[in-house]
């Protein structure tokens, strides 16, 4: 026993190294959302393309749908946008946009330029609905089930891997 005592500091160091390795590989920007598994917050917003038309959370109940938070000033949104446009073409799951703290004309021009994958975009000018959804880094993407419960949240741009390995299997499962 005594003979191996000199290894104790080394073992301690190994444990410390393990902790540091895990710490380095965590992404501090990905804050686990407390909203997963909770009902999506209530909202009532006008459509981006028509200030006279309102969409509320109740209108979207009973179906699986995706909410993508975007803005024309958001550079990372441009990165994920082609993926969403492509997704909207081949999927039947409705994709709604939340146009976050944007100007109506800027948002519409952005969609005209880069393509519009959204069934409709909700116009959240002061970001209140964004706060209710716990949005802090645009783009963010939520998957909401038929009961209106948030099942998945992606912070930052959706990548092809996330779409293929996480979102699409989840949609299939929820729609089964």
């Amino acid at each position: 026993m005594k003979r191996w005592q000199f290894l104790a500091p080394l073992a301690l160091f190994a444990v410390l190294l393990g902790f540091l390795a895990v710490g380095l590989n965590l992404n501090p920007r990905e804050v686990p959302s407390p909203l997963i598994g909770k009902p999506a917050p209530a909202f009532e917003l006008t459509r981006l393309d028509d200030p006279a038309l309102k969409i509320t959370h109740a209108d979207l109940k009973g179906q699986v749908w995706i909410l993508n938070v975007w803005a024309s000033w958001c550079v990372a949104c441009r990165q994920e946008h082609p993926l969403l446009v492509d997704f909207a073409k081949r999927s039947t799951v409705p994709l709604y946009g939340l146009n976050y703290k944007d100007k109506r004309n800027d948002g519409l021009a952005w969609l005209a330029r880069f393509g519009n994958p959204y069934k409709a975009s909700l116009f959240d000018i002061d970001g209140r609905v964004g706060i209710d959804f716990g949005v802090y880094g645009v783009p963010e993407t939520f998957v909401i089930d038929k009961q209106g419960v948030i099942r998945f949240k992606q912070i930052g741009p959706v990548t092809p891997e996330v779409l293929r390995d996480q979102i699409e299997p989840l949609l299939k499962q929820l729609n089964a």
């Binding site: 501090p28 920007r29 804050v31 686990p32 959302s33 407390p34 909203l35 703290k101 002061d126 970001g127 209140r128 706060i131 209710d132 959804f133 716990g134 802090y136 880094g137």
Partner: protein, 154 residues
């Protein structure tokens, strides 16, 4: 280098000028003071090492506004904290609640300190029981020995 420092200073000044814009209204100094106190407990998620009170990120400005609005409508500090944690999780709190997952965070330092002190006491007590032959003799406090270069080892 001086140019770089100057640029840095200029940036600081810009930040300071912006910081002066932070208060929203001065018509309600009491509420505002309370708002700033609550915001100082909340982490800004955009710039994670700042509080909502300190940050000028847009989200922080919005959240300060939200806190002020909630105070105006007569909500308590606890209600506001609950509102924030319901949306952003315990992560927004600079003082996370004591529970299973945060146990190590809260008591880790104390455990480390007690462990370190215990080790120190154990080592000292063991050494105090050892005989003189376990220790090197004190070196003579002679200035000539100290000043003399070390003898070559044989």
């Amino acid at each position: 280098m001086p140019k770089f420092l100057l640029a840095l200073l200029a940036l600081c000044l810009v930040a300071a000028v912006h910081a002066a814009d932070a208060p929203l209204t001065s018509a309600e100094p009491e509420l505002e003071k309370k708002m700033l106190r609550i915001s100082a407990e909340l982490r800004c998620l955009v710039c994670q090492n700042q509080t909502i009170a300190d940050s000028n990120a847009e989200l922080a400005v919005d959240l300060r506004k939200q806190v002020l609005d909630m105070l105006r409508s007569g909500q308590s500090e606890q209600q506001i904290i609950d509102y924030m944690t319901a949306r952003y999780g315990d992560f927004v709190l600079y003082r996370p609640p004591v529970k299973g997952a945060t146990f190590l965070l809260w008591f880790g330092p104390i455990v480390l300190m007690v462990g370190g002190l215990a080790t120190l006491v154990l080592v000292l007590r063991r050494r105090s029981r050892l005989g003189n032959e376990h220790f090197d003799a004190d070196e003579a406090e002679d200035i000539t020995t100290a000043a003399r270069p070390a003898e070559p080892t044989r």
